[in-house]
């Protein structure tokens, strides 16, 4: 976008919840990109974002991964996580991280949440799960497909979790109503939602807004 002559972009990265609180507290951003529809919805209800400004930007998938150093496991379905050999399984903390919420949904959907719970290690966010995988501290982990991609040498994807087992993982983007540069912001949003952005999205493991 910047190379194309669009204006310079300043990135403020933090968890979707933190960013939402920043926006609620005052004019802090022109564009908001959320990994969780709930936060976007909260901002719409709070009047910070117009409902018609929200656009679907990308989608993601949930996968089960294991450290590369471990012997490869054959997982046909999510329920196979109950195998004895998996003593520590890292997932996001469902209370605080979307990646954990989706994981809990899926595990409950196949009915193994209660049985698996004692073996679960709850991490705060995806980078933490990635760190555990990289250091071989856990036997398996559930995280986004996009988080496993950068780990190519240190982790191996075992299974792509059936998307019907959890709420759709949708990333939404919108121009913040209080933005002082609404035109430039709209340009950016349009660009990111256009077909031109798709190849880059896909190369990082995201799915387009379909």
């Amino acid at each position: 976008f910047e190379a194309r002559g669009g204006c310079a972009i300043l990135l403020n990265t933090a968890s979707s919840g933190t960013l939402r609180r920043q926006i609620e507290a005052g004019p802090s951003a022109d564009v908001y990109l959320s990994a969780n529809e709930r936060h976007m919805q909260a901002l719409v209800e709070g009047g910070h974002i117009r409902p018609d400004a929200v656009r679907l930007f990308a989608c993601n998938r949930l996968v089960v991964a294991q450290p590369a150093g471990e012997t490869p496991l054959a997982l046909d379905s999510l329920a196979d996580l109950m195998t004895e050999s998996l003593e520590r399984i890292a997932i996001g903390s469902p209370r605080t991280a979307p990646v954990g919420e989706y994981a809990e949904e899926a595990l409950r959907a196949v009915g193994i949440w209660d049985a698996l719970e004692p073996r679960l290690i709850l991490a705060e966010n995806a980078p933490q799960i990635a760190a555990y995988l990289r250091r071989d501290e856990v036997d398996a982990a559930i995280l986004f497909a996009t988080d496993v991609m950068p780990l190519s040498d240190s982790a191996r994807t075992l299974l792509e979790i059936d998307p019907r087992l959890h709420s759709p993982i949708r990333y939404t983007i919108a121009v913040v109503s209080e933005s002082e540069r609404p035109e430039a912001a709209a340009n950016l949003v349009d660009f990111l939602c256009s077909p031109e952005a798709l190849p880059t999205l896909r190369s990082h493991g995201f799915l387009g807004p379909e």
Binding site: T96, Q128, R135
Partner: protein, 223 residues
């Protein structure tokens, strides 16, 4: 809101973890403080800086370094795993994380306190026949007790508030490793601001009570 796992347990866990961490950091910190105060060796000041590092580094970094050390493939973690001892993701990891965070405080205050002790007095003790340990126990430490005690209090306070490294090393598992600090964070993130507020109040009141009592009962110059 007051479910055991999310309320009583964190409070008790934090107290236990902080107490143990204070003992651990207190002992190691005192030893290092003495070494730095009285020792004469190459790299003495380098050691001082190394020990102070946990104060400078972001807690998550300290946590990651500890993870490297105590993980399955770590220097300490590997051998311990062979012995069947698991540290990560248990309360023991929380103790170590808190102890690591508190250590710099203990070392700095102990060193300063011991350096204040007149070496002449220690020399006199030697002359009178006290052994190295005897001098330490009967002369040096009693004279440095105020600083040492201050260090212990700081350790405890720091341990109660420890968050970043604990998160990395022990995880935030309800009913197992969720200290008050971790629980407050989780409650805030999940939007349970009321429960978070109650936890904060309890944490402050508890810590206030303990620290105030310690300050009053501890060694003071007007006793």
């Amino acid at each position: 809101m007051f479910a055991h796992e999310h309320f009583t347990f964190p409070l008790l866990l934090s107290l236990q973890v902080s107490a143990l961490a204070t003992m651990l950091a207190g002992l190691v910190g005192l030893a290092l403080g003495y070494l730095l105060a009285r020792g004469r060796f190459v790299g003495r000041e380098v050691l001082d800086v190394l020990v102070t590092l946990p104060l400078v580094l972001p807690p998550v970094v300290t946590g990651y370094l500890l993870l490297m050390l105590l993980g399955r493939h770590g220097w300490l973690g590997g051998p311990l795993a062979h012995l069947g001892i698991e540290i990560l993701f248990t309360w023991k990891a929380a103790v170590i994380a808190s102890a690591a965070a508190a250590l710099p405080f203990m070392v700095k205050t102990s060193r300063a306190a011991i350096e204040q002790v007149d070496p002449e007095l220690e020399a006199t003790a030697h002359l009178l026949g006290f052994s190295r340990w005897g001098t330490l126990w009967h002369v040096t430490l009693p004279l440095a007790r105020q600083g040492i005690f201050a260090g212990l209090v700081l350790c405890f306070a720091r341990a109660m508030g420890e968050f970043g490294a604990t998160l990395m090393l022990a995880g935030n598992t309800p009913g197992r490793t969720n200290t008050v600090a971790l629980e407050i964070y989780a409650a805030t993130e999940a939007g349970e601001s009321r429960r978070a507020a109650v936890l904060v109040v309890f944490l402050v009141v508890l810590s206030f009570a303990i620290l105030y009592t310690a300050n009053r009962l501890g060694p003071r110059s007007d006793h």
